[in-house]
Symmetry: C2
Subunit: 183 residues, 2 copies
């Protein structure tokens, strides 16, 4: 395949990287504004969505799915757990693993907020045809896949929890709210 870009013609206007970054920088704050009254971060929202969508899973899996730092995710989960939106339960079959579940309250929050998100996107994409949106989604998905394949293969394991539904018992013994908590 003949290459698309040439050094002599490469500009920001036709650079996918620049456009991605710019749209990300523009969109994330606008998304967060939708959750202001629930004081949810966009990252927190994404975690809730991920759990709703893929059901029970582990922190490591969620981190990979939403492409987020695992260490940072721990702290997000701390808060979500404290607010009663998700549940952590240590797995019996693999004691390294903590199974995450959306509580009914957490699910409720998602269902409450979802209409706003949908409305936001419908408004934003107001003068895109359905075909164009589908195309955009498809192209972006392929881009993500390509970018994902380029990271030195942290192979995405089959979800260990996807077929078994038995899981351990509660372990919520007093988590600190945030970092920097040193009495």
């Amino acid at each position: 395949m003949r290459p698309f870009y040439r050094a002599t013609h490469y500009g920001m206007k036709n650079s996918v990287g620049y456009l991605i970054r710019r749209s990300s920088n523009l969109l994330m704050p606008q998304m967060e504004a939708l959750f202001a009254d629930e004081s949810l971060t966009f990252s927190q929202w994404t975690v809730l969505m991920a759990l709703r969508e893929w059901g029970q899973s582990t922190a490591a899996d969620v981190a990979r799915n939403i492409c987020h730092d695992a260490g940072s995710l721990t702290r997000i989960l701390d808060e979500l757990e404290e607010r009663g939106l998700v549940t952590r339960a240590r797995s019996e079959t693999d004691r390294r693993v903590v199974a995450l579940t959306l509580t009914t309250r957490g699910l409720g929050t998602v269902e409450t907020l979802l209409p706003r998100v949908v409305e936001f996107w419908n408004g934003l994409l107001g003068d895109f045809t359905h075909l164009e949106i589908k195309l955009l989604v498809k192209l972006l998905s392929r881009l993500v896949d390509a970018a994902d394949g380029r990271r030195a293969e942290p192979r995405r394991r089959r979800g260990f929890l996807s077929h078994r539904h038995e899981n351990g018992h509660e372990i919520g013994h007093g988590r600190r709210h945030r970092r920097g908590h040193h009495p």
Copy 2:
């Protein structure tokens, strides 16, 4: 226009927001890896590209163009100036404004790094047809425009420097390298 998304069918796989964020999170680190030996941040790179592309402009304009926090940009410029890649010159016609110019060294850096970037993107988009890439760029541009229009109208002024080429003189009197420098 009939809306595209519905709350009942909204999932991450078909969500533009999720895809944008994910690709951004995936791509930015990979881009930065390209500049590791020059120890350039992706943000720094973007600033250099912006200056190369739009010629001399002001910090505020660059901040808007690349959609970056102006305060943070000051610090980026501090470093770029210290490394001799850009030049700050206070404008004579509007003394609030500092005109930014890419030095020859800065331009050289861009020219050196550009082939890598081009190669990276050509590789990443290896199994996209040219038409698909053009389509992606066009759709993303429209998305950016839509998202940009939604921010309460911080009206993008005509570049004040775009037609006059006279500008002030040097002002590089000892900038601190980084923040937190308080002797």
